[in-house]
Amino acid sequence: MHTYQYQLPGSLRAKRWLAAAVAFSTGLAACAAAADTTVRVLRVEISDVEKQYYDDVVAEYEAQNPDVEVVFEYIANEAYKTRLPTLLQSDQRPDIFYSWGGEGLRDQVEAGFVRDLTEAMQDGWQDLYPESAVRAFTLDDRVYGAPLYATVVGFWANTALTEQAGVDIEAIETWEDLEQAVVALRESGITPAVVGGKDGWPMHFYWGYLATRLAGGEGIEAAKQGDNGGFEGEPFVQAGELLQAFVELDPFQSGFMSTSYERASAMFGDGEAALHLMGDWDYIPSKERSATGEGVPDEDLEFIRFPRVEGGEGNDDSFGGMNGFAVTRDASDEAVDFLRFLLNEENQREAARLGIFVPVANGSEEELDTPYARKVAEILSESNFHQVFLDQALGTSVGATVNDISGDLAQGEITPEEAAAQVEEAWMFR
């Protein structure tokens, strides 16, 4: 290890090692508690349960590696997205950062901020995960990140309310079935669904999932290349039409455009609506945010697949996230080592056991305890193509446009054609 000092004179690493060497020689006795290397991990704000999980992993790693200190830092979701570019270009850049893959990661890689993990992952590391998970972090055959978990978007349902309206939640197979359920719920005086319209992205789940159902994951890839009219093509216009026809049925809580995601998830937890189109990760947050802290009781809670759309190319596809961590370019080798530890099979299984998220490591689904998590694992394994959220997969700028048009469509501000044209324009100018 000491040879590094001579191979890279003047680099940060050499200075760090030099400093460590000086510290070592001057205070042998005091050294026991002092860490030589600090690995800073930046993560989007999460539930307390998940924080505890990371604390435990870190404690175990530090026990095995006394000269490494791992520090987790958390930033709220929206702030994280806007601050990351600045952070990556500053001296304050973290060693490991949370990533959604997609075009956003491509921007960071092309600007040279991300460490290439291809070699590190080849000696057995990547075999822990299914190919689709590694693919989400692969750009031009190089791997730039490792997967933590997969998420799937679906309808969370409060069966106590749906039964009251005479809706059989398990029987919702097609988009028409869902529309009929909405009408029945309204007639019984129950708010059919909550949505956090103020934040944009929860509404994009409707447009994005409908577009995925209609075009299919491969159709979306083709649209990126400009085939079949690009994002102005038929499926994307039709997604807008379906969304607008759906909104005509008055499915959402009143004032839904002023509701944030957090509020919507609390409202669902408080039993104020029957459905919530949201990722599987909302299970614990929805409980934590509800007035009682208990949320919808488990026996009344269901997680169902997004319905099929007639004639859709993507009826066997799933829509959600493939989230993980990337390592910054000049991070220490210890950072890579810690990441490998964090995402190893045992820790992934532990996450499954705790029910924090649905880990991607092969076999970890065996540990999943809640029926919802098993449902997610089932949807993922049956899925033909796992389409990453459109507002992530298409990059920050186009993604924000997708969020905008979803809200505009829901309010009837623009036509489906205009919406599709705006996405295409944003894609051309990205």
Partner: protein, 310 residues
């Protein structure tokens, strides 16, 4: 620089040296006092301006260095963008509301409370309180007030037996709501400027007017207001420049929504430039904002200077 000039001074005659000494005294003062200001000004004003102008001709996502030159494309896209038109119009509305509603309100209140009495001190404090509050906090507080489920608005509508109204989710009402908050937030500041000016109006002039039989309203209109014109000009300038900068109240209240209908130029710049990582595009918006601000400032200065001469 000083070491360069010294040998030259030594060669001169006595009289010359004296004159030069006086002159160089000023010169040294300039040499000592100017550079810090000049350095700070170039570093924090000129340089960023030049940078923004430079970035505005590139399509750049903020990573690395800009390389994709696009000429004036960012500007044409900006001028074609309907949300930018909304942002411009909203900013204009803010300027108008500040000048037509906020300033007269502040002036009227200042005339009521400018005399030094204990009750007046209390009122001044109360009126000034909103200004002390941080913008973000004010925005958050008002977003709760306007909340259609739990806010005071909801409570009022329910008390009247009406369906609740979601002010901030309504395209028609969201921006008027924001304007109300901005007037509420800043009138105290303008009021304080007027109070300071009113207190410096000579008492004998007011006494004289009263002896001539002028009613309080006439005293205000023909004595006090003309005498504090300079303060009104200054506060007008602050109102306009402040309106061009409005940002941190809108973000917590509506975040520019619903459907991008409540953007001002700055929230537009932030949303479409910074948070979407279109740094080149955002820079173009910044340049437009800068030109507008300079243009309005010059126009205002001309207009008010002319009035003073007349």
């Amino acid at each position: 620089m000083t070491t360069m000039t010294r040998p030259a001074v030594h060669k001169r005659s006595n009289a010359d040296r004296l004159r030069q000494g006086l002159a160089s005294g000023k010169f040294t003062a300039v040499l000592i006092l100017l550079p810090p200001a000049l350095i700070l000004f170039s570093l924090f004003v000129i340089l960023p301006l030049a940078d923004a102008a430079y970035y505005s001709v590139f399509s750049w996502n903020g990573y690395g260095t800009p390389s994709n030159f696009v000429g004036t494309q960012n500007y044409t896209r900006l001028l074609d963008h309907s949300v930018f038109h909304t942002a411009l119009w909203n900013t204009a509305k803010l300027i108008l509301v500040s000048l037509i509603i906020q300033m007269p309100l502040a002036l009227g209140l200042a005339l009521l409370v400018y005399r030094k009495t204990p009750t007046n001190t209390l009122f001044r404090l109360v009126f000034f309180l909103p200004y002390i509050l941080a913008e973000v906090a004010a925005g958050l507080i008002w977003s709760f007030v306007f909340d259609g489920d739990y806010g005071i608005t909801a409570f009022m509508f329910q008390a009247l037996g009406q369906e609740s109204v979601y002010v901030l989710a309504d395209r028609q009402w969201a921006f008027p709501a924001i304007m109300t908050v901005i007037v509420w937030k800043y009138f105290g500041f303008h009021m304080m400027i007027y109070i300071a000016a009113l207190q410096s109006v000579p008492k004998d002039l007011i006494e004289a007017a009263k002896l001539e039989g002028a009613k309080p309203r006439q005293v205000a209109l023909f004595v006090q207001i003309p005498l504090i014109k300079h303060a009104i000009v200054v506060s007008g300038f602050f109102a306009i420049i402040g309106s061009l900068q409005i940002f941190d109240i809108i973000i917590p209240m509506t975040n520019g929504g619903p459907s991008n209908s409540t953007h001002t130029i700055v929230t537009y710049l932030y949303t479409f430039g910074l948070s979407r990582l279109n740094i080149g595009f955002g820079s173009a918006a910044a340049v437009v904002l800068f030109v507008l601000a300079i243009g309005i400032a010059l126009f205002y200065q001309r207009a008010t200077a002319k009035e003073e001469r007349a």
